[in-house]
């Protein structure tokens, strides 16, 4: 057998292109196409009273100007509400171009098409839009207070109100020997992929067909939406995802207004049209996430065991809800983490504000949920004077309790059942990795040097690989090369490599002979998309199943050729051979030739397959009734429920006693995503997630002023971590396989980011001795908190007193 590829740190095939400048990202395509630019609303809430385009008409190279009035057919309707939910009683979506009202700064009002982007922007500048400014709703409290409404017909600004309950949490809390209440606050951040959004459309008038390239996380989704909006049969629309410069969630939203408008204009103008988002547009017209206010009530026994947990969440969904209420649903369900909550009640309201829409950003509501739960765990430990890991441990679901049914519904509408996981094992590994038990000695030494340090811990469970399905197609060409396709898209996760690893093993071919295509509806038209850490699980397993079908067929055909029982055959290095007698073999490429009886020969290989030269059994048709020509297979993977990965992070921070600067001394991760297909790639995913977590906890925040202006809409003002801000990340893996899928894998894409806000809060609070309830936290805020603490406005942690006395354990 050739070296096993599954589990090996195989170097990525995609890098060969990407490293030498041969990537093909959206804006690399379509030279010669017209380019679009948009006039976007400068107001958070306003009525459009007039649009005057005359000033733009003389701009050199101007092709067309479109306002809402110009939109035709279904393009003039509101954008789809992608994920309806019974609780989403007041879902609202935008029009592709604003119709009368604008509801956030950045909403598209006019589209200009010109021969190049510079000229399109010139024209935008010369268009005058008159607005009657209306007072906006900004901030969750204001939205909840609802003195003003974002949408006149949405009372209380409330898009959705959902309560999920298991047992009677308020009663359990009331009866508990110990009770605590926490008020928590997480602010907005955003995915901020280095490549923004972009769309490029080619209309073929003679063929009446459309090809759309878009920087998306779901090409099948965009294709279906564009076909529906433009009233085209699905078979006249293809959607191709080129290389994508990062997604992290924002590119799963579809169709973006531009994804409808650009193809629509391309057809109308009978010319290629492209739009490439610029950075400011990405800030003000794509999507953000995270913003929530939470009230957590817990009742617990003297060991810290949860008896009742009651959580109220106010979730800011921005101006519209095209992606439904997935984010707060995930917060509500994944908040439970590795714990048994006792009785549980979670109540969320999803509220409109006059800000950019809120849709999943890596972690998708989980960081907020974990923040709530882990803040509660720390508070319980502090209340009881117990070690924080001890309190977590008494609440863990034990390995022998798996599968564990929480009695709730997950984001896919299916039961929230954990399939596997070893939480005590993970915690032990983490404590060892970070040196949890030795920390107090370290703290004492640091204190003696006048340094202030703290340690934090946070645990999470992540539902990954949600359905409904993905598919895979594997085909052996007559050259022996193998081409593989799956419908979901890639944004840097190394799918071309990991899926090739799977096929190489399943089929017994060298990995160099395997080429993988993702996100191209011409190659695989059925797919859902890349989000929720689902690609490896869903497409990986589908591709494995497809490869197994191909192998079975190859062995059958080779068995006939070699006059051997297929059960006695194996495939090694692309050769089908009789086990134990390597002499008798046939190349997979030849098997592919034999699989497809031909009438016409066009080369030597095909000659062997023509009807008149091959050996034929005249009693049978050339292609058996239950067979198909070609050595290829297609299969789908559709799991009954998601598979749940888990992990635990610990961080050691040092806070400067004078400047309140927060330094990360160590960052440790224990991660369990089942079997690893490619450990190098999984670690890369964790690294990237942690860096985004660090950003979200210590730097990044979307600063809206009271007028709804995003005042830091550039990389100069929105602080994302550079290499200097991200610490060295130490990782240990557990591998508890998923029993749900053939490969035993779980998703890993979002893991790194999920517990970051919680773990930093835990560590900073441990260093400072007073509770941290708000994230992100920058030195200026910490400084301010210290002042309030000194003034007695913030209560000390119970162990905080020990801190000062230097006896804290």
């Amino acid at each position: 057998m050739t070296t096993k590829m599954f589990g090996a740190p195989v170097q990525r095939t995609e890098d060969l292109r990407l490293l030498v400048g041969n990537g093909r990202y959206l804006d690399d395509l379509g030279e010669g196409s017209y380019e679009a630019a948009f006039v976007r609303s400068p107001h958070a809430r306003a009525r459009i009273t007039g649009i005057d385009v005359t000033g733009a008409l003389d701009v050199d190279g101007l092709i067309a100007i479109y306002t809402y009035e110009d939109l035709t057919g279904r393009v003039a309707e509101p954008l789809p509400l992608l994920i309806p939910h019974p609780a989403l009683t007041h879902g609202r979506t935008a029009y592709p171009l604003a119709k009368e009202f604008v509801n956030h700064v950045g909403e598209a009002v006019v589209m200009v098409v010109a021969t190049d982007r510079y000229l399109a922007e010139d024209a935008c500048e010369r268009i005058t839009v008159e607005y009657e400014a209306l007072p906006p709703v900004v901030g969750i409290e204001n939205a909840h207070r609802a003195d003003r409404l974002v949408h006149d017909d949405v009372p209380g600004n409330c898009a959705a109100h959902l309560v999920q309950e298991v047992g009677d949490a308020p009663a359990a809390i009331a009866a508990a020997p110990n009770r605590l209440e926490l008020k928590l606050d997480i602010e907005r951040s955003a995915c901020m992929p280095m490549e923004g959004r972009g769309v490029y459309a080619r209309w073929d008038a003679a063929d009446e067909s459309l090809r759309v390239y878009t920087s998306t996380q779901t090409s099948t989704g965009v294709r279906a939406a564009v076909a529906a909006k433009l009233d085209l049969p699905l078979d006249r629309v293809e959607c191709v995802t080129p290389d994508v410069g990062g997604g992290f969630g924002v590119k799963i939203v579809h169709p973006w207004p531009e994804e409808i408008l650009i193809p629509w204009a391309a057809r109308l103008l009978d010319h290629e049209v492209k739009w490439t988002e610029d950075r400011r547009e990405h800030f003000i017209s794509a999507a953000h996430e995270r913003g929530q206010l939470q009230t957590v009530r817990v009742g617990f026994d003297d060991d810290g065991r949860l008896l009742g947990l009651d959580v109220e969440i106010l979730h800011d969904n921005g101006a519209y809800t095209p992606y439904g209420i997935i984010v707060p649903i995930i917060t509500s369900t994944q908040l439970l983490g590795p714990y048994k909550p006792g009785a549980y009640r979670v109540d969320f309201r999803s509220l409109y504000t006059n800000t950019v829409i809120v849709t999943p950003y890596r972690g998708a509501g989980r960081p907020q949920g974990v923040f709530a739960m882990e803040r509660a765990m720390d508070a319980i430990a502090d209340h009881l004077g117990k070690d924080r890991t001890e309190v977590r441990a008494v609440n863990f679901i034990q390995p022998d309790e798996m599968p564990y049914d929480h009695g709730l519904l997950f984001q896919d509408g299916r039961p929230l059942i954990y399939d596997s996981g070893d939480f005590p094992g993970s915690l032990d590994a983490l404590k060892k990795l970070v040196g949890w038990d030795e920390f107090e000695a370290y703290r004492a030494r640091a204190r003696a040097e006048g340094r202030r340090v703290g340690i934090g811990v946070a645990c999470y469970v992540e539902g990954t690989g949600v359905g409904p399905y993905e598919g895979g197609h594997v085909q052996v060409e007559t050259t022996g090369k193998v081409v593989v396709a799956t419908g979901l898209t890639s944004q840097g996760q190394g799918h071309q490599t990991v899926f090739a690893q799977i096929v190489a093993d399943e089929l017994g071919v060298p990995i160099e002979d395997v080429t993988v295509t993702t996100g191209d509806t011409r190659r695989f038209p059925y797919a859902v998309g890349t989000f929720a850490s689902r690609a490896a699980v869903m497409s990986g397993n589908a591709i494995a199943l497809a490869a197994r079908n191909v192998k079975a067929k190859a062995l059958r055909i080779a068995g006939e050729a070699l006059e051997a029982d297929p059960r006695d055959l194996e495939i090694v290095d692309g050769q089908v051979r009789v086990k134990g007698s390597p002499g008798a073999s046939v190349a997979l490429g030849t098997v592919a030739v034999l699989s497809n009886p031909l009438r016409y020969a066009f080369d030597e290989a095909s000659k062997a397959a023509t009807q008149l030269t091959g050996k034929a059994d005249f009693s049978k048709p050339p292609v058996a009734e239950d067979d198909e020509p070609g050595l290829e297979g297609r299969d789908y993977y559709s799991p009954p429920t998601a598979t749940f990965a888990n992990g635990m992070h610990a961080v050691i921070v040092e806070t400067d006693p004078d400047t309140a600067e927060i330094r990360i001394l160590r960052y440790c991760v224990v991660h369990d995503c089942g079997h690893l297909i490619n450990p190098m790639i999984v670690e890369g995913q964790v690294h990237g997630g942690v860096a985004q977590g660090v950003g979200g906890a210590l730097y990044e925040r979307m600063e809206y002023d009271e007028h709804g202006q995003l005042v830091n809409a550039s990389f100069m003002d929105f602080l994302m971590p550079y290499a200097s801000e991200v610490p060295k990340i130490e990782i240990d893996h557990l591998e508890t396989p998923s029993p749900l899928n053939p490969l035993g894998i779980k998703g890993a894409g979002e893991a790194g980011v999920i517990p970051a806000a919680a773990v930093f809060a835990s560590a900073i609070e441990d260093a400072e001795g007073f509770p941290i309830t708000r994230m992100p936290i920058q030195p200026s805020e910490l400084f301010h908190l210290r002042k309030r603490f000194a003034a007695g406005e913030i209560p000390a942690l119970r162990r905080g007193a020990d801190h000062a006395a230097g006896t804290h354990r």
């Binding site: 290389d243 990062g246 944004q491």
Partner: protein
């Protein structure tokens, strides 16, 4: 409407030397070097992540020095030697040590920021062929990457230094053999 009269923009013929190859093209004075490289010369390896000089994705080398192509006009790049990511590999296709190191160390995921890192690191290692980890981290701290968390980028810088050294060793060995 006289105030909307738009003067026809001046167009200039310019000559640029990119990766050792002379190019002539016609641009408006406001054309950014990044746009000129990408869209006029078809060298789309140079990427644009912010267009305001912060992310570093557009970094090219001008007479060897890393510069942000989104902060330069194409016209002002005349008379200078420009190196883009397409020009880093050897003429025979052998990857530059930095490119090879990024592959070995998994220093890229989506690859969008990568050309900027490659150009920066290639210049850095010429100045400091044996950096410490601290210096390596410092060297890449002006470029944004949203995917990798920088761990493997820092590793790649150190590995690239090693590869450069190894290759020198090989070249010497070959020289000795002759």
């Amino acid at each position: 409407m006289t105030d909307t009269q738009i003067p026809t923009e001046q167009r200039l013929d310019i000559r640029l030397s990119v990766n050792g190859v002379p190019h002539t093209t016609t641009v408006t004075p406001r054309r950014l070097l990044s746009d000129c490289l990408r869209h006029d010369l078809g060298l789309t390896g140079t990427h644009v992540g912010c267009e305001h000089g912060v992310c570093g994705a557009c970094t090219v080398r001008i007479d060897g020095k890393p510069m942000r192509a989104c902060l330069m006009f194409a016209v002002s790049a005349q008379g200078h030697e420009i190196t883009t990511v397409e020009g880093l590999a050897e003429p025979d296709g052998t990857m530059h040590p930095v490119q090879q190191a990024f592959r070995e160390c998994h220093g890229l995921q989506c690859g969008f920021c990568t050309p900027g890192f490659l150009t920066v690191v290639s210049a850095f290692l010429e100045e400091n062929p044996t950096p410490t980890e601290e210096e390596a981290r410092e060297a890449v701290s002006g470029n944004l990457c949203r995917c990798t968390g920088y761990q493997n980028i820092v590793k790649s810088v150190l590995r690239a230094a090693e590869i450069t050294e190894e290759r020198k060793g090989c070249a010497h060995a070959e020289g000795d053999a002759r």
